[in-house]
């Protein structure tokens, strides 16, 4: 079973995205902050991480850097607000493979994750 890690400081979003991908046959972990995300990434080695770029405390770019240092093969998709899209330049440099804008739209969410894991959802 493929593993996905969802990192977002909003509880509601973590819970929903977890249920959404669980139903689609993934093992889904959630993290509400950067430290939690890094320790789960280290322990569980997920195939894919959905990472919110803007979080309280350690922000998405810092988490991205840490996770990439841990494991170069984890696919990281950034979740960004429309107005923060310019941060993606930096994120790509740090090794992110794709991004999806907030508010998340279910169709795109499903499609983006499916495309990057090369699975049909």
């Amino acid at each position: 079973m493929q593993k996905i890690l969802v990192v977002d400081d909003e509880h509601e979003i973590c819970d929903f995205v977890q249920a959404f991908f669980k139903e689609r046959g993934f093992h889904v972990f959630t993290a509400l902050n950067g430290d939690e995300a890094i320790s789960i990434a280290k322990k569980e080695k997920p195939e894919l991480v959905l990472l919110d770029i803007k979080m309280k405390g350690m922000d998405g770019l810092a988490v991205l850097k840490h996770i990439r240092e841990l494991d170069k093969f984890i696919k990281i998709i950034m979740v960004t607000a429309l107005e923060d899209q310019d941060k993606m330049h930096e994120a790509y440099k740090l090794g992110a493979i794709d991004y999806i804008t907030k508010p998340l739209i279910l169709d795109y969410l499903e499609e983006t994750v499916g495309r990057n894991l090369k699975v049909a959802l």
């Binding site: 909003e10 509601e12 979003i13 819970d15 929903f16 977890q18 249920a19 959404f20 669980k22 139903e23 907030k102 508010p103 998340l104 739209i105 279910l106 169709d107 969410l109 499903e110």
Partner: protein
């Protein structure tokens, strides 16, 4: 469902406290009570969002469904947006997660109203889509329909929808009520579906009303703004015209502005005088009349206006024409017919000895009588080519002495009151 029949009990004011039976279903009679109360309550919601939240909350409380959501059309986004959602952990869809544009298969199935997969109640049922997809005839003979059903199924999967209930107003699809599975896995009963349809219809009506009111309020605001703007332009045009008149006559510099201010100060003391209420808009008519009272001087030759010395009787006759000329200039402007009348008579005397018509007493319109006092006072305290200026005290003595002959005594008293309060010479450019 028998929505209309039977005698309905009086509206239940405790809309949210309808009792549920042990098995978690509300009984038929309760639906009716509930619906009646709900439709009454809906009318009170000014914002559609509040209404939607109420509906979602009610369904969530009344029926054990794993999740409920409402999509509402937003004109500015040209899409159907998730407004509210409730459900068990992980199934409550965060607001903003769903945005369906008008071409979305799920929206088209309702807006085109052509699909035979929508039941006669108007509800789209997930089970019907599945039945359609299993139908070999459709797969083989109607591949387009099959693809369409597949994409509708996918949208319903995304929303975890078992039922989609449309909200129509006239022919417009305003929104969709999305219902997930029942917690106990049972199918929805006919009664429950009827309940959703009625709720959706009432909600559509309330949403449409709220939108109409919102649009109307917006229009009213726009019209108000337009009116204020036009009115400002109008007043400023009058002020500009008055300044142009003053500029022609070197002896009356600032005269119009001062007279207007005296008039407004006098008017303050006339509150409650019955004649005031005979004007549609007294203060404004007064202000414009005062600003334009000398507009007729435009028709008086320069050599007379700026003559340095006493005027001959012929020249004085010429000057006297200005009130008539002023009224004539304004005559074509229908909206200023009141103003034209006041300007015509601002040189009348209370005893009938004035011009142009020799009116007396209350036959002279009120505003004209006010302007007469203000105009005379300013003339007296200003240097004119044919005489030296008087002191304010002298001018006031003269107003008093001519009260009842040249001037209306009521207006003179009002002027004196205003003067004593310091409202005549206060905050004004001194002549």
């Amino acid at each position: 469902m028998d929505q209309q029949g039977g005698i309905l009990p009086l509206g239940n004011p405790n809309l949210f406290n309808t009792q549920m039976t042990k098995n978690g279903l509300i009984q038929k009679q309760d639906y009716q009570t509930f619906l009646e109360a709900a439709s009454r309550t809906m009318i009170r919601f000014k914002k559609p969002e509040h209404l939607i939240k109420m509906i979602v909350k009610t369904i969530d409380e009344q029926l054990k469904i794993i999740h409920t959501a409402v999509l509402l059309y937003k004109e500015e986004k040209k899409s159907y947006i998730l407004i509210d959602s409730k459900g068990t952990v992980g199934l409550k869809i965060p607001v903003g997660f769903v945005r369906l544009n008008v071409d979305n298969p799920l929206i088209r199935i309702f807006s085109e109203k052509s699909s035979f997969f929508i039941s006669e109640t108007g509800i789209l049922n997930y089970d019907d889509i599945i039945v359609g997809l299993r139908n070999r005839n459709i797969l083989e003979l109607q591949p387009d329909l099959y693809d369409n059903l597949l994409s509708v199924k996918k949208q319903m999967d995304l929303l975890k929808a078992v039922l989609c209930v449309p909200c129509y107003f006239k022919r417009d699809l305003l929104g969709i009520l999305v219902l997930g599975e029942k917690v106990n896995g049972e199918n929805f009963s006919r009664e429950e579906m009827g309940f959703f349809v009625t709720l959706a219809n009432d909600a559509a009506m309330a949403i449409a009303n709220a939108q109409l009111i919102e649009n109307l309020q917006q229009r009213v605001e726009e019209i108000k703004e337009l009116y204020i703007r036009e009115h400002r332009i109008f007043i400023h045009t009058a002020i500009a015209l008055a300044a142009a008149i003053d500029a022609r006559d070197p002896y009356t510099h600032g005269h119009t502005e001062r007279v207007t201010n005296y008039c407004l100060a006098i008017a303050k003391e006339l509150d409650g005088v019955p004649e005031v209420s005979s004007y549609k808009n007294f203060r404004e008519t007064l202000q414009i009349s005062a600003l334009l009272h000398d507009v007729g001087k435009i028709g008086i030759p320069d050599y007379i206006l700026s003559k340095n010395g006493r005027l001959s009787p012929e020249e004085f006759e010429e000057i006297k024409k200005h009130s008539l000329i002023g009224a004539t200039i304004l005559h074509p402007i229908k909206e200023l017919s009141d103003v034209a009348r006041e300007i015509r008579h601002h040189q009348e005397c209370f005893d009938g000895s004035g011009y142009p018509d020799g009116l007396a007493g209350n036959d002279i319109p009120l505003i004209a009588r006010i302007i007469a006092v203000a105009d005379a006072f300013d003339a007296m305290i200003t240097t004119r080519p044919y005489r030296k200026k008087k002191s304010v005290e002298e001018a006031i003595r003269e107003l008093k002495s001519k009260s009842g002959t040249q001037f209306d005594p009521i207006i003179v008293s009002a002027f004196l009151l205003a003067y004593e309060k310091g409202n005549i010479l206060n905050n004004q450019k001194q002549p």
